[in-house]
């Protein structure tokens, strides 16, 4: 995967522009959510849980040749769809890239306004967690060098 974060964000923005109604956009997100199935069952517990008022989000991470790999899940299909979009942008990247990502697509697509901004869904907490992982990874990596 050689595309930059920016390129993928632009892809997503184009995709969302393609839909006319929010009804359609939601359906697309739900489809993405239904397809997100690779989360390890044994990790769906409190240790990996991110606080969210109405829907729970779980996230696990590991590292592979200087890249960080995330897997995440939620009990909400919509939130899973958002996770899928988010991981499409952030997964399998270096710590610096993740830390510096502005994630403007959430605003530009209107996802933030429609879904991501409600405190209820835990997405903000998840983005936070992803960035914290990246910072922790970087600190560890730098102290090794």
């Amino acid at each position: 995967m050689d595309k930059t974060i920016n390129e993928i964000e632009n892809e997503i923005i184009d995709e969302f522009n393609f839909f006319e109604s929010w009804q359609d956009k939601y359906e697309y997100i739900i489809e993405l959510g239904k397809k997100l199935t690779n989360f390890p069952d044994e990790c769906r517990n409190n240790e990996y849980k991110v606080k969210g008022c109405q829907s729970s989000v779980w996230i696990v991470t590991n590292e592979q040749s200087n890249k960080i790999i995330f897997k995440a899940d939620s009990d909400s299909t919509l939130v899973k769809g958002l996770i899928a979009l988010l991981l499409r942008v952030l997964n399998n990247r270096g710590a610096d890239e993740i830390i510096n990502a502005k994630l403007d697509f959430l605003d530009i697509t209107g996802l933030k306004q429609h879904l991501a901004q409600t405190r209820a869904n835990g997405l903000a907490a998840m983005i936070n967690k992803i960035k914290m992982y990246a910072i922790a990874y970087k600190t560890k990596h730098e102290s090794v060098n």
Binding site: E27, Q54, D75, S76, L78, V79, N121
Partner: protein, 415 residues
């Protein structure tokens, strides 16, 4: 014949014209507002009363010697009298304005609790209480080393009165229960609950959380026998920021003040401060005259519609919506008490409440999803949350049809 008569009692189309927001659009669709248990919408008479207040006689009250201050004081006092009549208190001295039901309960827990609850004493609440009627008691128990006892709820969402009777003991000092459950809609037999407690010991202090009741049914605090009764203006068509604490004068007089500052004192000196009489003793700081004026207008509005008409319309909505929901495959209504207000919680098998709520919003339908500030109840029922629809008298059968269609579509997309 009877039916046409009832219909004439109440013309919902006309009523709806009184609520400007009901004519607005949400996501391009007419707004269907089914989150009335969270907060109600406001009739134009309430909105105008607020505007009129600020345009014509806004002033600080009680100590003013000038005309608009006297007018504002009069408005504040007559609002108190209106509330007092509305719930049949003995006197407007028994009506304290707070910020909301939550603050009212905090005030009781702090101030009544200060002198009347001691180590080992027991406080009884129920499993279906709103957090506002749980956490202040937990905190009081922590401060005093007292014990919280909890009346269990049946599978249909009713209080287990047998268990309640067993919980009552010589150590029971307070019983505090909700009049109507904001999650289940259950109307609790508060009059019975209180008379059982009083039969055990007349000194048991009986508190009713009426936040979900005062706008659905005529409340008579003396008939119920409550020592304290609390509710919020914003859930009864009045403005936000005002709540009511009714308390029997005798109890209020004996209680120490809660917040302190202006208006609640008689004399202040650095050596000694004495406090004002009730109700002022419990109203520290500049009173919210706007809120009082708005609440007054809200009660006038409720009275003009009338509880008979409100009951007829809301019962019809409750019944119709329940029937339509029951027809949906995999849907389960949570809270099936015989005696219910127009609040319906439900879950759909395999689906997340939040997802359903978001998709309903896409169709212009506003519902609440989650735990509704009743987490212990959710835990007891072993569900993570529900979708809740709650109706006011201004809602219609047609709106329920729109909701049911949107719900079916949402379920289809999510499954």
């Amino acid at each position: 014949m009877q039916d046409t008569l009832t219909k004439k009692l109440f013309d919902v189309d006309n009523i709806r014209k009184d609520f400007p927001i009901l004519g607005t659009f949400s996501n391009g669709k007419p707004l269907v507002y089914f989150d009335n248990a969270a907060t109600s919408q406001k009739p134009v008479s309430v909105i105008n009363a607020i505007g009129d207040y600020y345009r014509n006689y806004n002033a600080n009250i009680h100590r003013g010697v000038y005309s608009i201050s006297i007018k504002a004081s009069d408005a504040y006092e007559s609002s108190k009298r209106k509330v007092s009549e509305f719930i049949n208190a003995k006197s407007d001295r028994e009506i304290i304005y707070t910020r909301g039901a939550t603050e009212s309960i905090n005030l009781i827990a702090y101030s009544f609790g200060a002198d009347n609850v001691n180590e080992g004493d027991e406080i009884i609440i129920s499993e279906m209480e709103h957090h506002a009627n749980i956490v202040p008691w937990q905190e009081l128990c922590k401060r005093k080393n007292a014990v919280l006892k909890v009346i269990p709820v049946t599978d249909t969402g009713e209080l287990e009165l047998d268990e309640y009777i067993k919980l009552l003991s010589d150590k029971t000092k307070i019983v505090s229960v909700g009049h109507i459950s904001n999650t289940l809609g259950t109307i609790n037999p508060v009059k019975d609950i209180i008379s059982i407690a009083k039969a055990k010991n007349t000194n048991i202090c009986c508190i009713v959380d009426g936040a979900q009741a005062v706008h659905h049914t005529k409340v008579d605090v003396r008939n119920i026998g409550a020592d304290f009764y609390v509710f919020s203006s914003h859930k009864m068509y009045g403005p936000m920021g005002t709540g009511v604490l009714y308390g029997r004068a005798e109890l209020l007089e004996a209680m120490p003040p809660y917040q302190t500052g202006g208006d609640m004192i008689e004399n202040v000196s650095f050596s000694q401060t004495t406090f004002n009489e009730i109700p002022m003793k419990f109203e520290a700081g500049t009173p919210n005259v706007e809120g009082a004026v708005g609440l007054n207008a809200a009660i006038d509005y409720i009275n003009s519609v009338g509880f008979d008409a409100i009951y007829v319309q809301e019962s019809e909505l409750l019944q119709y919506a329940t029937e339509k929901l029951m027809e949906i495959n995999g849907l389960r209504v949570i809270g099936t008490s015989q005696n219910k207000a127009s609040v319906i919680s439900f879950v759909v098998k395999g689906l997340n409440a939040f997802d359903i709520g978001v998709l309903l919003d896409g169709s212009g339908v506003a519902v609440r999803t989650g735990q509704h500030c009743t987490e212990p109840l959710m835990d007891k029922l072993c569900i993570p949350g529900t979708v809740r629809v709650s109706f006011a008298f201004y809602n219609t059968i047609e709106e329920i049809d729109i909701f049911i269609d949107a719900l079916k579509k949402a379920i289809g997309v999510l499954q």
